[in-house]
């Protein structure tokens, strides 16, 4: 299924354009491939933060790796600043990598334990042959200041840092080559709550200072709501809903988005607590996604049509796209439970 582009034509050119992206992992010996990403298209506009939210098997991490050119797509194309990544020669590819950088989830695993902090941060500059040793070191120290660590961290080793400090070093390193696009893959998931808050605040500041455009991958709705200007909800390899942050968080149209919002942990006092029946069923395997709409096996609104026909990608509100046969019923914002129809008989 290849939904049409998730955004309407823009005045400004998108920094990243992904078209009909599919990533299938071969499992060998006549077995069906693992369809990690199965038909995703979107644009990343300058200055925005697109939050991609999803659970396991959604393919969001694979998507992140494709955007930073770490993973080859099986189908579809990725354009970076107007250039099709598939057509780039190795040298041009290396230069293109300056434009997109990534920060990963595990702060410790991402840092070479034998290198001091300033060398770690300056390493991308060395690889991209920017400047000399002295200027690289100065740049590293400056970045340390920007991530609120300070110059005295320059000589330390990763094992001498806390989790939050390591993640700041990772961020500094990612910014060393002054990328235009930053991809963050679950960057706060491994951190304690108060440390997480510090990183998220830092991130917002850096976004402004560096004029970053960001693809922010997370499973945490609260985090997405805090950092994103636009939100894409991913399920089993495809987007099910994309829209502005307020649209998706406050007035979701897709039943999965609504289920995520209801399930998301929130410290809510009893007076405001509403009893929700949690979403039933397990996440299907990406090896054999359900026919038609992938979400139908767990969807409280599923009807026969959902098994037979893949839902079309429709723009139901300006800037908000959904792939659901019954999404229009949610336009007036009534709660999910009211509209429950018996789920489709076939699993």
């Amino acid at each position: 299924m290849t939904p049409a582009l998730a955004t309407t034509p823009h005045a400004t050119a998108p920094l990243v354009r992904v078209e009909s992206l599919a990533v299938h992992f071969d499992r060998g010996r006549g077995q069906p491939p693992l369809r990690a990403v199965d038909g995703v298209s979107f644009d990343l506009l300058p200055g925005e933060t697109l939050g991609v939210i999803g659970e396991s098997g959604s393919g969001k991490s694979t998507l992140a790796r494709v955007v930073v050119l770490l993973q080859q797509p099986s189908q579809g194309r990725v354009w970076l600043a107007g250039q099709d990544s598939a057509t780039l020669a190795p040298e041009a590819l290396r230069l293109a990598r300056r434009q997109v950088q990534i920060v990963f989830q595990d702060p410790r695993a991402a840092l070479n334990p034998r290198m001091r902090v300033h060398r770690l941060i300056a390493e991308p500059l060395r690889i991209q042959r920017i400047g000399n040793a002295a200027s690289q070191r100065d740049a590293a120290v400056e970045l340390l200041e920007r991530v609120e660590l300070g110059a005295d961290f320059a000589e330390r080793y990763p094992h001498q840092l806390s989790g939050g400090q390591r993640q700041r070093v990772n961020i500094a390193r990612a910014l060393a080559v002054r990328p235009q696009v930053l991809v963050c893959d679950e960057v706060v998931a491994a951190l304690d709550l108060s440390i997480q808050a510090g990183i998220l605040n830092l991130f917002k500041d850096l976004q402004q200072q560096f004029g970053l455009t960001t693809l922010f991958i997370t499973h945490d709705l609260g985090v997405t709501a805090y950092v994103s200007s636009r939100v894409a909800v991913m399920y089993l390899g495809t987007f099910v809903e994309v829209g502005g942050r307020d649209q998706v968080i406050d007035a979701p149209l897709h039943p999965y988005t609504r289920a995520l919002l209801e399930a998301a942990p929130e410290p809510v006092p009893a007076a405001r607590r509403r009893a929700h029946a949690p979403l039933q069923g397990e996440i299907p395997s990406p090896v054999a996604p359900p026919s038609g709409c992938r979400f139908r096996t767990r969807c409280p609104l599923a009807v026969d049509r959902c098994a037979a026909e893949v839902p079309a990608w429709r723009e139901l509100r300006p800037g908000q796209h959904v792939a659901c046969h019954r999404a229009h019923e949610a336009l007036d914002g009534a709660p999910l439970a009211q509209r429950a129809a018996p789920p489709s008989a076939s699993p």
């Binding site: 709550l193 942990p265 006092p269």
Partner: protein
Amino acid sequence: MDAVKVTEAAPCQPAERAPVLSVRGLAIATRGGVQVTRDVSFDLQPGERVRVVGESGCGKTATGLAVLGLLPSGLTVAGGEVRFHGDNLLNLPEAALNRIRGRRVSMIFQEPMSALDPVFTIGRQLSETLRAHHRVGPREAKERCIDALDAVGIPLPRQRYDEYPFQLSGGMRQRAMIAIATICQPEVLIADEATTALDVTIQAQIIELLGRLSEQHRMALLFISHDLGAVASACNRLLTMYAGEIVEDAPLDDALLRPRHPYTAGLLAAIPRRQQGSGQAGHRLLSIAGRVPRPGAMPEGCRFAPRCVHVQPRCHEGPVSLLATGRGAAARCLRIDQLALGGVAA
């Protein structure tokens, strides 16, 4: 050296019935003598659901393990008692403790894949628990186990009975773990980060299941978690731990709306919320300055004082006890009468 003052406010609910679990002054230390937790005191009433929250290193997991005598080899109980219906579990011989474990007090853990034995079937692991504590024949045990698997929401339980852990998904494995832990209908279930490794929608299912089991069997729940946000359901009371101590003990809504300890308030303000205006420019999450003190390098006075925005000179003078804040709640702060801390919006 430490003035351990256990207040009369430690039991949070007014004690109408005798608590099923009563922890007093529990202190855990490494074998080298470094203190990990101290002065941990709380009561658990029958059927009550208590959540213990704190960030990594606060000692909440060690506390849960200590109740059942499951501390790893590097840690040991340095003092205090854990009374289960009056008996101190810490003094029981191994054989007597084994009659309580899995049968009257159970525990489930974070990673269901590594918590289940990979070379035995689910059914075998379930029935051996049942048969270890009750005289049940193999055939009847199997039937009861299949019923137990069904009761925790595992579809096709008869088929799953003969399957191995690696053949189940994460959510199913955790359900199997819950079945194993509850098959003898214990009075207390300790859940140590039991939903942390699961997806959000599966997490909601498991929390709902635990709440349901707790109500059906009047099973008290001690839910240990670092996720302060996941308290929406299945919880009556909140215990907050910091640097090895309980710093606040309050009914859930009180803790959320009117926290009495600056650390609790700080945690609540650090949670990214999704209400309107959350992401706007100018709104910032509170990031508590500083770092958790290392075990062995604890401050002399209030352990949170170096990071507290409401600190006063007297906070550094000596250790602070849990002080009653009314309605059975308590907080470890000298300024409870002076501070009006903000919580989540009502």
